[in-house]
Symmetry: C2
Amino acid sequence: MTHSLRPEARGFSPAAPRPSTALLTDQYELTMVQAALRSGAAHRRCVFEVFARSLPAGRRYGVVAGTGRLLEGLADFRFGGPELDFLADHRIVDDATVDFLREYRFSGSIHGYAEGEVFFPHSPVLRVEASFAEATLLETFVLSVLNHDSAIASASSRMTVAAGERPCVEMGSRRTQEHSAVAAARAAVITGFSATSNLEAGRRWGLPTLGTAAHAFTLLHDSEEQAFAAQVEAFGAGTSLLVDTYDVEAAVHRAVEIAGPELGAVRLDSGDLIEQAHQVRTLLDSLGNTETRIIVTSDLDEYAIARLQSAPVDSYGVGTQLVTGSGAPTASMVYKLVERTDDDGVPVPVAKAAVGKTSVGGVKHPVRTYGTDHVAQAEVVGIGRAPTFEADGHRELMVPLVVDGEIRAEHTGAEGVERARRRHRASVDELPATATSLQDGEPVLPTIFS
Amino acid sequence: MTHSLRPEARGFSPAAPRPSTALLTDQYELTMVQAALRSGAAHRRCVFEVFARSLPAGRRYGVVAGTGRLLEGLADFRFGGPELDFLADHRIVDDATVDFLREYRFSGSIHGYAEGEVFFPHSPVLRVEASFAEATLLETFVLSVLNHDSAIASASSRMTVAAGERPCVEMGSRRTQEHSAVAAARAAVITGFSATSNLEAGRRWGLPTLGTAAHAFTLLHDSEEQAFAAQVEAFGAGTSLLVDTYDVEAAVHRAVEIAGPELGAVRLDSGDLIEQAHQVRTLLDSLGNTETRIIVTSDLDEYAIARLQSAPVDSYGVGTQLVTGSGAPTASMVYKLVERTDDDGVPVPVAKAAVGKTSVGGVKHPVRTYGTDHVAQAEVVGIGRAPTFEADGHRELMVPLVVDGEIRAEHTGAEGVERARRRHRASVDELPATATSLQDGEPVLPTIFS
């Protein structure tokens, strides 16, 4: 039931037809454009940055995800007939603004942390440079994509870390909105999940997909025996049989009788998984099915996975806790204006000054520094210019994603997922050992403004 | 900036082009169909039911939402060329199954709680009757829609209850996936939110939309004065000005100077909102702007709204906590086979029997009962047949949504939202007074199987 990353899926191949993404936004992005077109400030060159002020309580690192989806959606961020008619008919913006939106194409540049990269509080994970009008229109869409996908990836990275060499499979589609499910599957695979149950994610980005049967399939038949036989008939002995509809022990006996020594796997979806895994492993071995794997799938999170590591489990199916970010369903990233030109075209750093929610003005240049042991030490962020170092042992974190309106295609589609997956593994491997602890603590790297 | 429910938007008017929803599903739904087509059981008549085993801890009631979206998506649940090519090329299912899927149209019936209705643990909120193959294919999509939208509605209903007569505005798009944002806006309006910032939700269902400006608009200009003047120039004195970019007191003075006594509103987005609201109200009144409203918008949830009720606030903008379900981002609903025919066409009730996660077999008939004071008393659920009562004081909860493949259009589009909004208000009004307490407690109605 699995298939690996498919070469023909490389390069972005979205569903035809592709709807516009331009109305997936807050009204105030458009009204600000209208007011700025009137005041003349709409064409000031601006730099917006995306960052999170903090990580969810206790988390050691966050994971940037959604960048590829963001670029794919940016390609469809166009105001066409239905969008313009809506805006005009309901007088959401005036005629001059409708005319501006009709011609809207993002012609600026976007740099950011490579997808899959880890981040920390105040890491400037994305930088958008364009006129005010062009850049402000993207705010809501950019944040929706990054906040969701990064929240999922930040949780799912902890799950694959906890699972070690054992594969994790994403199967949470039913516990999140139908389109979030597609995005969540992608974020999971980027952070090391081996497959997803979500077919649209498989189709869109060439992700490996997987699935066999639910309890309903057993209940549909007159007996568990008939159900198992039907499944083995359809998919061969290598399939995985769900053994907890009635009595687990009896079901394992039945499964082995029907599928023989080639039975691929049995799945446990309820009860005390640790105890059952031990019992089922002993039983399978005693029946000669030493190669039959045990899959567990009941409301797992990173902590449950860690506890199950001592049990004879071969792979984990993760659902609800993955797609809801394991307690942190959004990454709390914000999109802030940090620099804009004045009437003479001179760049001016800007920042909100009122109580709370403060931010740092000026364009940020983030660099990760390393010790002589090649372990990451800090996020050093230059303001206005790149920080300078006397020796090696540092890495610039910003990569070009969009240059003068041209989307860098290597970050999109199946290739983007594969690159992000590699980047993620490499970035986590560089972190101090405490990063992979599930114990609550401070972010493992400090963010230092220089 | 607002517009009310628009008559021309009644009747569902989705974005053209409309992509297929058929791959927004778990692979095992399709592999089960393949195995059941082989075993011959695919055509057995089945009844699946959707229910939640529990409410999130402490919650007094849940709210059914997503029904209209579910029916809209069902109309697009078709396997076309791109979907079938994907399934065939990657051998996810065999040719016979691909042929079956090519012709797939849901021809069964769906009944459920009317959208907006309140529910309790084990309330059978949806019933799908069709062949196994037809009904099982819908499982993931049905659950994705209902679990997400019901989670949001269950949280947002508490917010409007806490806000009483003060309007709540949904503005959480940036903190959830871009398509979840559209669905969340709809769920919020169903539960009494007066408007949303999300434009696609406005376009799709005729929801009132709203928005003016962010801090970036102020920072873009050379001074707060210029920014306020630009906004008033574009939208008139009735606009709402964001007054916490620099110094709130100075900003309020400036706003009144520029917009005059007609200034519509000022918005506070940071700091101690209760204290600031009092100060700003006093200041506005002293300047003669007694009609200028105060809007607050900083990380509000139902508890923050309740605390702010004693402050001179006119409306609430709610974001993160709304779109993440205020601590409960999924409604935990499941889709379970409860009855299927045998080889003679005789219906047989079925249920999983293993430890934990048990469910009750047989078709459920839910009725809400009332006391002589017209206050709801219990959810009485007949198994296999409707419960009978000697007197009045009860209401059947199931309404037809799809009859023999025909979608009841009144539940979709803007009309569906308006009906759900009315239903929600009426259902909450019938509940015992403790329902609207924010104190943690048990569900306000017991679910009694009869």
